[in-house]
Symmetry: C2
Subunit: 251 residues, 2 copies
């Protein structure tokens, strides 16, 4: 009888090579892999052929399985099969409800560990050569969810629009117009902004603009979920921005 054990592991933003060696090693010894919608399925190759692989797709607006169901599956599989790797998109602790899964494992006395993943909040802008911090432009970055438990805009996001931080919004594409309004309310029509869909994958798309134009740019580029929003002077470092800047200045 195998010992039950749970490993929460971050799969990174989508590119199958943006997973850590540690997560690959965990997959190598998995008896079961429970994986999310945003996880690259190529990663399943690192689990043994005879491991059970279960899709528990879950992303904002499309809850194939509820969190409760996932928690129960995770524990049931651990008790019956041994080592469960819970493979989650990005990093398990960045809006991933990973801690709730750790708590649920603890409640059932199943040893659990967490392996960090590359968070899309930092890496997706980065792969587009937009740094979340940069001397002279930004001394901090603030990562906020666009979709809170109650479906409203987070108060933290309202506060973030007032700050000088680089603001990164995850799961916010469906509220982009509302979020842009919040920045406009702070007089930030010309603040550089970008929206990146499916960052790090072959489906990657980007729209670059300013607060006043970003909704239109996103529509033109036909960008949809999953996408991340980034607001801040650092977006002006993106190569596409120079042309936009020239256009704004010549107005």
């Amino acid at each position: 009888m195998k010992q039950p054990k749970i490993t929460l592991a971050g799969a990174g933003p989508g590119d199958a090579e943006l997973i850590t060696l540690k997560a690959v090693k965990a997959l190598n010894t998995a008896d079961v892999v429970l994986y999310d919608a945003l996880v690259n399925e190529e990663l399943l190759q690192y689990a043994p052929d005879n491991a059970v692989k279960v899709y528990v797709g879950k992303r904002s607006g499309d809850h194939t399985h509820s969190q409760d169901t996932i928690n129960k599956l995770m524990v049931d599989y651990a008790l019956n099969y041994g080592h469960v790797v819970r493979l989650k998109g990005g990093d398990p602790f960045v809006f991933g409800r990973g801690f709730e899964e750790l708590e649920f494992a603890a409640l059932h006395n199943i040893p659990a560990q967490v392996i960090p993943g590359i968070s899309s909040s930092i890496s997706v802008p980065e792969l587009q050569h937009i740094p979340v911090t940069h001397r002279g432009l930004s001394e901090s970055f603030w990562v906020v969810t666009g979709t809170t438990a109650d479906g409203k805009i987070s108060n933290d996001l309202i506060e973030a629009t007032k700050s000088k931080a680089t603001v990164v919004v995850l799961m916010g594409i469906h509220k982009l117009a509302q979020i842009a309004e919040l920045f406009k309310n702070e007089g930030k029509h010309d603040l550089p902004a970008a929206v990146i869909q499916s960052g790090s994958t072959s489906n990657e798309k980007i729209a670059v603009g300013v607060v006043g134009t970003i909704v239109e740019k996103v529509n033109e580029a036909q960008i949809t979920s999953p996408a991340i929003l980034i607001f801040g002077e650092v977006v002006s470092l993106h190569p596409e921005f120079q042309a936009i800047n020239d256009a704004v200045l010549s107005k």
Copy 2:
């Protein structure tokens, strides 16, 4: 003659297994590796035996090489040796001055790419089972540097102490007392706080307390640089916190 090429790669927080497959692949083809003080030297094993490995140690308060020198070394090596992997602690774009290195490469017409790394800002608390976000406790996290270019406390940090975000401060250990005062000014004496030194390594140390006690706890635990500070209700999820909480309530 080899083509000059530069890869900025994140080495993660310290644990040698917290590097990505993509960064390992870059190291496999390195002619030169320029690595920072906070990089685990075990990672050099992934570079060919005959690759040139140069320590360009650089951390706050101990600038073995200035940024200008590093930029020049990087370009000189690329022009003379071929593929330079610039291996940086954590993630290259989180207070890593990585974008400046990309710009310097571009200025010299050397193709450059960036490979994200596991940022200590998220992963170091995570490995201590402190999530930067958690339903009901935190809808956002704000990452700020404790050491700005001019040596002062960042205005963003002052703003962050007023927010409900989980606040993560990098390179802030030497200003901990000052930073704790900022939170006290906001009436947050009892806000949970933790300081973690050398997270993810065998030298890891942690102090857990509240704003009002954290300086004392850090002194008791003899915690020094490199360390990250984390302030927010999410710290109350750490196992050590329950005892602290009981003590506070019984006062």
